[in-house]
């Protein structure tokens, strides 16, 4: 059955504390961190971007399992910060993991859910027999304008999933999506920073779509929240996924392993996939994982995933690449001035 053959994540080493950003803008750090449930966020190094993060995540996935790179027939990278407007991130990833030239590739964009859309595409190509393995990546160096609310959470990171039929470490039992045309968040071509529709970001955006896709999954598969060991939701902050989990009937314990946003921030297209990677890092055979992403604009993709015995077999070496917890450890903290340099927010002459 189609599923996850291997996976890997990548998070840059730099962090900034939310309190440091609040200090610069004269805001109350405790109010902001308390309101968002986010305390620090990752910051890319000066030479890191969505391409380098995607390559590192992809290589981490391939370290854990020896699959022939020539068997990778498709690479899709979901991001809202592809370094080029025209020239695919996916081609550089393909070259850097040795999968070129016999492969198809494209970059995806659907706000924060482009990575899960890539997973769905790979599932379809694998199931139809068009490819043996497909690689789906969600990665971002998220943008938030200085002083904007998004600046407190916009972070950098990503995760790569190899989808295939051969002894998957986790089977994807089912996927379904809920999509509408909603003006909750956007970035026009040529603009550096996204804008958001204020009150649109909550109920008509995140909650309507996550609940829509999640309930569709329960209906189609005939499950209830207690059938799952873990749940992962898109995490623009800690409050939204906690609230939506509560509304659906998931417990804090089910949510805990995949809720990485308090110390990582919002990695946009990477967010739900890094959460899934963190959950798989500690999952055991038989564990069932519920995943629902969200992308503004707007839509949600839901997945019902079941971990197999292959995760503990000698086909798979989890220790060959760092876990999400390991990637989050040993950070280097930046002050706002260095952070601005890292994010290119000041123009260097």
């Amino acid at each position: 059955m189609v599923g996850i053959v291997t996976y890997g994540a990548y998070i840059p080493r730099y962090r900034i504390r939310i309190g440091e950003i609040a200090r610069v803008w004269g805001a109350n750090a405790d109010d902001i961190s308390g309101g968002l449930g986010v305390f620090e966020k990752s910051v890319p190094d000066l030479d890191e971007d969505t391409i380098t993060i995607s390559v590192e995540a992809a290589r981490n996935a391939l370290q854990r399992r020896k699959i022939d790179p020539d068997g990778i027939g498709a690479i899709y990278v979901g991001s809202e910060s592809h370094p080029y407007a025209v020239k695919p991130t996916a081609c550089t990833v393909g070259e850097a993991v040795g999968a070129t030239p016999v492969m198809t590739a494209a970059d995806y964009e659907f706000a924060c859910k482009a990575g899960t859309a890539a997973v769905q595409t790979c599932m379809g190509l694998v199931k139809s027999g068009m490819i043996r393995y497909g690689m789906a990546i969600g990665a971002d160096v998220a943008q938030g304008a200085p002083g904007d609310a998004l600046e407190y959470t916009a972070a950098a990171g990503g995760a790569a999933f190899v989808i295939g039929n051969d002894d998957p470490i986790a089977v994807i039992n089912h996927t379904c999506s809920f999509t509408t045309d909603t003006p909750d968040f956007w970035r026009r071509e040529g603009q550096s920073f996204p804008r958001h529709g204020g009150r649109f970001t909550g109920d008509p955006g995140y909650f309507k779509h996550v609940l829509g896709a999640a309930r569709m999954m329960f209906d189609q598969v005939g499950t209830v929240p207690s059938d799952y060991d873990y749940a992962v939701f898109h995490q623009p902050n800690a409050k939204f996924p906690q609230r939506v989990a509560g509304m659906l009937g998931f417990s804090r314990e089910q949510l805990a392993p995949g809720l990485v946003v308090p110390t990582l921030g919002n990695t946009y297209s990477g967010a739900s996939l890094v959460g899934l990677a963190a959950t798989l890092d500690q999952a055991k055979p038989g564990d069932r994982i519920f995943v629902t992403s969200f992308g503004s604009g707007a839509g949600s993709d839901a997945f019902d995933i079941e971990v197999t015995d292959a995760i503990t077999s000698d086909l798979f070496t989890p220790g060959a690449a760092p876990t999400v917890t390991e990637l989050l450890s040993d950070p280097i903290y930046l002050d706002y001035a260095l952070y601005a340099k890292h994010k290119g927010k000041i123009v260097m002459q």
């Binding site: 190094d45 000066l46 030479d47 890191e48 971007d49 391409i51 380098t52 390559v55 590192e56 290589r59 370094p83 080029y84 550089t92 070259e95 850097a96 040795g98 040993d330 280097i332 340099k341 260097m348």
Partner: protein, 130 residues
């Protein structure tokens, strides 16, 4: 650097593809098409370096050319790969972290860009092995 010249070096820069001599086992990076030891008896084949090695020596760059000014201060080192070849590379770490003999491994980073609208160049740098 021209677009074409960088593109030709992508296998080297992305994946540390060099060459080795099957006759004597020496590995070469950048790739050589002729073994100086075995000469006509040498048989040269492509070799993908593992990406692990150690710092032979290093310097801290505090004043750089315009293209690298934003990175200062940064560590530039001669790295000896475990297979034997040596190359010059930036070590991505704080300037107090680096030392002679330090174990390093390859990472994929942006090497530079051709102005605001030209191509972006990617390739290999090294980080300390924890």
């Amino acid at each position: 650097m021209s677009v074409a010249r960088f593109w030709r070096k992508q296998p080297q820069r992305y994946n540390l593809i060099g060459t080795s001599c099957e006759t004597c086992g020496r590995a070469f990076f950048p790739p050589r098409s002729f073994c100086p030891e075995c000469r006509r008896d040498g048989k040269i084949v492509d070799h993908a370096f593992a990406g692990t090695g150690h710092v032979v020596t290093f310097t801290i760059i505090r004043t750089a050319s315009e293209a690298f000014e934003h990175l200062t201060p940064y560590v530039l080192a001669i790295v000896e790969l475990d297979e034997g070849a040596r190359l010059t590379s930036q070590i991505v770490c704080t300037i107090d972290e680096v030392s002679i003999g330090m174990r390093v491994k390859n990472v994929f980073r942006k090497l530079g860009s051709d102005g605001e609208s030209g191509p972006l160049y990617y390739g290999t740098k090294f980080i300390p092995v924890k």
